[in-house]
């Protein structure tokens, strides 16, 4: 294996033999291939592609670079959910306790905010005292006792992916479908799961906005999981508008808790129920789809899901009172209600502008390890197609000071695009646009 020859073959569009590609990746992990050769390879792979066999080699090398969890001590199925990331996506916080209440173990490893999206770990840490960096031993205990546990990626899982991701981030090679698919799946395959649901976002607020490329990503990931014996279902869901009303860490956590209480926006509840039903059926394939939905809804309405959430928060050191007083998570000192100045129709609620707005208000990161303000963000109760009267609320800006409030108001007014009353808003994508199971992967 001569590194420059491997790079040249990929540059010229050839598929690499599995042992050649594996030799290259393993040599990189051992430090024998320098970052600059890997960077050239990643760019060649970005522009020339990796086929399914090459992607599988990448997954295997990432997986084998670290350890794999053994969760066979748990007396039941183990199913996780991964989202490719969207604006206002607080589903995980509702889903993990809900699915635990359905007798499926949920060993969830999540990430921080990335680019214009907030991250599950940050939302959890908006809860006073909540610890996301617990040991793997403690993670297993909580999982057994509560039915779910929510932590960050540990450095023991797929460390090769961690190094490659850091390099991709600074060399313009993040958004290649096979690289994304391998990165996500290598981590999920290490979790010791018996089933996996993937939420692949499509639309302007997604990292891969285009329908065709998002479908290709979903297809690749389902194929990887299936080939390795992990039953995997991908849902392609709408990210042409934010999910729910709240955008910003603490605001989203509060909204998630309201969903757990049977309240909150309908689109959030619907996506939670759909994903919970998929996870339940991966754990118990005999349950019919309609029955799975009904059980999920009942656990939300009965308070069982909320009860699991409280146990989870307590187990991970957090303040359980937030379950009763979710509005206590709205900690910003300045709040500005933004109203419509004239009658109008809402044409668009631009997700990316609002996601980037959270960063501008101090609620997101532009560099790793930056401290963030959990209180800032937006609440936007309107949706595309809504008819608005003069004076109606378009949204609330949560900011740390008056300057932030002014900037946030500007951002909100631009993100909520208004048309003349009676004007037809562009069609929005159905919330759950496509579903891809093992049978749909070629």
């Amino acid at each position: 294996m001569i590194p420059a020859r491997v790079i040249e073959r990929k540059r010229d569009g050839h598929a690499l033999e599995p042992d050649v590609l594996a030799g290259f990746l393993e040599a990189y992990f051992r430090g024998e291939v320098p970052d600059y050769q890997m960077a050239a390879f990643l760019m060649a792979a970005y522009l020339r592609g990796l086929d399914d066999e090459e992607t599988e080699v990448l997954v295997r090398c990432m997986l084998e670079s670290g350890r794999t969890l053994d969760l066979s001590h748990l007396p039941g199925p183990r199913v996780d959910k991964h989202s490719t990331g969207g604006v206002g996506d607080k589903v995980s916080l509702v889903l993990a306790p809900l699915v635990a209440a359905l007798d499926v173990f949920v060993p969830m490893m999540s990430g921080r905010g990335l680019g214009h999206t907030t991250g599950t770990l940050d939302k959890l840490e908006a809860i006073p005292g909540f610890q996301t960096d617990v040991s793997l031993a403690r993670f297993k205990e909580i999982l057994r006792d509560v039915g779910c546990a929510m932590i960050g990626q540990t450095s023991e899982i797929a460390p090769l992916d961690k190094r490659l991701y850091a390099l991709r981030d600074v060399t313009g090679t993040v958004s290649a479908i096979p690289l994304i698919a391998a990165s996500i799946m290598s981590k999920k395959l290490a979790e010791g799961l018996t089933g996996l649901v993937l939420d692949v976002k499509v639309g302007a607020g997604a990292f891969i906005p285009e329908e065709e490329r998002a479908q290709e990503l979903a297809r690749k990931m389902v194929a990887i999981g299936t080939a390795r014996g992990l039953p995997t279902v991908a849902l392609l869901t709408a990210m042409d508008r934010p999910l729910g009303h709240a955008i910003g860490n603490g605001l989203e956590t509060a909204e998630a808790i309201r969903c757990l209480r049977g309240e909150g926006p309908a689109d959030l509840r619907e996506l939670v129920v759909v994903e919970a039903a998929e996870m339940l059926r991966l754990g118990y394939p005999d349950v019919a789809p309609a029955e799975a939905r009904a059980r999920a809804e009942s656990k939300l309405d009965s308070g069982s899901a909320l009860e699991r959430f409280v146990r989870l928060v307590e187990a991970q050191g957090g303040e359980p009172r937030v379950a009763d007083e979710p509005d206590g998570l709205k900690t910003s000192s300045v709040r500005i209600a933004v109203a419509a100045e004239r009658p109008a129709v809402v044409l668009e609620v631009a997700p990316r502008a609002l996601g980037e707005g959270v960063i501008a208000l101090g609620g997101g990161r532009t560099m790793m390890h930056q401290p963030i303000d959990f209180g800032v963000g937006f609440e936007v109760p309107v949706s595309p197609g809504d008819q608005i009267a003069a004076g109606d609320l378009l949204g609330v800006v949560h900011a740390k000071d008056d300057d932030g409030a002014r900037a946030g108001t500007e951002i909100l007014r631009r993100a909520v695009r208004l048309g003349e009353p009676g004007e037809r808003a562009p069609d929005v994508r159905p919330l759950v646009w496509r579903r891809l199971g093992a049978d749909d992967a070629p």
Copy 2:
């Protein structure tokens, strides 16, 4: 200038604004952009291309990274020749003293053997005592006194090119036309020339074998020279067979000296005369083409060129006796004459096989700074189309021991491909295939 954004724009096929590209290159040169980001950029540039304006920015940044020679003290035109490298190409050793004898100063900076080709510096160092690493001050003195001087690239010239070349060499990004063009031209533009002849090789033994890509390289280089006010002519010349008969450092030097003595292979003499005439006319545009040729031939035949060569060798510390006894440069201990076993026609003399054969015999490098054996190589007096009788000489192998001689014989027999007597050999390319001057560049 955010490095990752620059890489992404090139990745997506956009042309970069001059100040953005220059900022990126300058930051790399200052050490603020790491090798891994430059490697990703180079691969993106390889696969997406650089347009003429971007290539010009690259040339400018390389040129400005180092110093530029001022040769205005010389009382006459200053013209150099650069070859993209071919098997058996010993033209420079004849050309520099010949053109000096035509009253054109030749400040020649050359390279070492690269891949399957030998290099001018190595051929010069086959002459006992010859120094190629003289100071720039001494270089100028020799140039003034002899009319020509031949040294290696100094680290003061285009150091950015040197760093980029080292990185390209290990990241599969050497053979991109704009990168090659910028690398060659930045060095030549630093030499303080008033004219430049480029010998761009085409055919199986060239680094860029394909006609179309070789023409594109020639066109780019002529455009770069012309845009910067350096009159530049490119000749596209045949490299589907070796040039001359000798391949290997000392053997080639001996053949070059025979050419200076008015002897030696016709193709070598012809290419020398064509290139000398071009250089003379760049120095003295009033001289008509036929007159330029005639003057070059007469300087070879009169011994004037040889006399300059002797002065050059003496000035650079070498043993001038080689001019009278060129066969003294044939220093290998084992020589095997390889004869035809049956009547045949020569279909092909494969240049790359013979060039790589020189490395196999110990006469070339696989790593920088490796010591090499100047004596080894091949003499192949046959050409495609020659009719051969049984027992006729196909070539002589020069090796350092019997093992080498055996391996060399095998290589030679394979490189000289024979057909049935009377069989038609494939057409060979005319020695000088195309000529490209400033008027031909768009």
